[in-house]
């Protein structure tokens, strides 16, 4: 069964404390892997698309990487405004997109 698993479910960090979020996936065919940020009461906001193993994308304090079985979202020196739920999603060859349950990130000032 195709699935996307994110870990940890929740993460509390001090401001400036770098860490990584994990997304492991098993799908029959991968067209792309997405990372989204979701704030309470809002829809997911697009961050990155990764297409193939070895690819990396960066945006401000965030860097996403991809291997054949998992993706990492690295957060460097986070700030309180980085607090949100981070969602990973994979797009299959039939264009269907499957989301993980997300990692709730809380950055303490």
């Amino acid at each position: 069964e195709d699935q996307v698993t994110q870990s940890p479910e929740a993460l509390r960090l001090q401001e400036g404390e770098s860490s990584s979020l994990n997304c492991s996936y098993t799908v029959s065919g991968l067209r792309g892997l997405f990372w989204y940020r979701q704030d309470p009461g809002k829809g997911p906001e697009f961050l990155f698309t990764l297409y193939s193993a070895g690819e990396e994308k960066e945006k401000e304090r965030l860097k996403a990487t991809l291997t054949k079985k998992e993706s990492f979202l690295h957060i460097t020196a986070p700030k309180p405004e980085d607090s949100a739920t981070y969602l990973c999603a994979v797009q299959q060859v039939d264009d269907k997109i499957i989301f993980g349950k997300g990692t709730r990130l809380h950055i303490l000032p």
Binding site: V4, Q6, R31, G32, F34, Y36, G41, K42, G43, P44, E45, F46, L47, F48, T49, Y51, L87, A89, Q91, D94, D95, K96, I97, I98, F99, G100, K101, G102
Partner: protein, 115 residues
């Protein structure tokens, strides 16, 4: 408009009532997805349109759920005889066909509460 618009923003329905949720995608976006998001969970796929064609409806939880996009733009998700387990946020997302580079743009969702 500049983004994906969903209405209503909030809906309270009595159990057994029919509801209709509307999604206005970004103009020109060919692909449209509906997702259901329960509290504390990731979005769960419901159905997918390309223009007016419903290409995948495998995620619709029962025959009480029905989605349409008759002119290839606005889409409506209809839930008949609502049940308490239907309470969730219903998200709509759209994109240009094949435009994975910019992901999919989501609306803010409709929060449905069945009482």
């Amino acid at each position: 408009g500049a983004g994906v618009s969903q209405s209503p923003r909030y809906k309270v329905a009595k159990r057994g009532q029919d509801v209709a949720l509307r999604c206005d995608p970004i103009s020109g976006h060919v692909s449209l997805f509906w997702y259901q998001q329960a509290l504390g969970q990731g979005p769960e796929f419901l159905t997918y349109f390309q223009n007016e064609a419903q290409l995948d409806k495998s995620g619709l939880p029962s025959d009480r759920f029905f989605a349409e996009r008759p002119e290839g733009s606005v889409s409506t998700l209809k839930i008949q005889r609502t049940q308490q387990e239907d309470s969730a946020v219903y998200l709509c997302a759209s994109s240009l066909a094949g435009n994975r580079a910019h992901g999919y743009t989501f609306g803010s969702g409709t929060r449905l509460t069945v009482v």
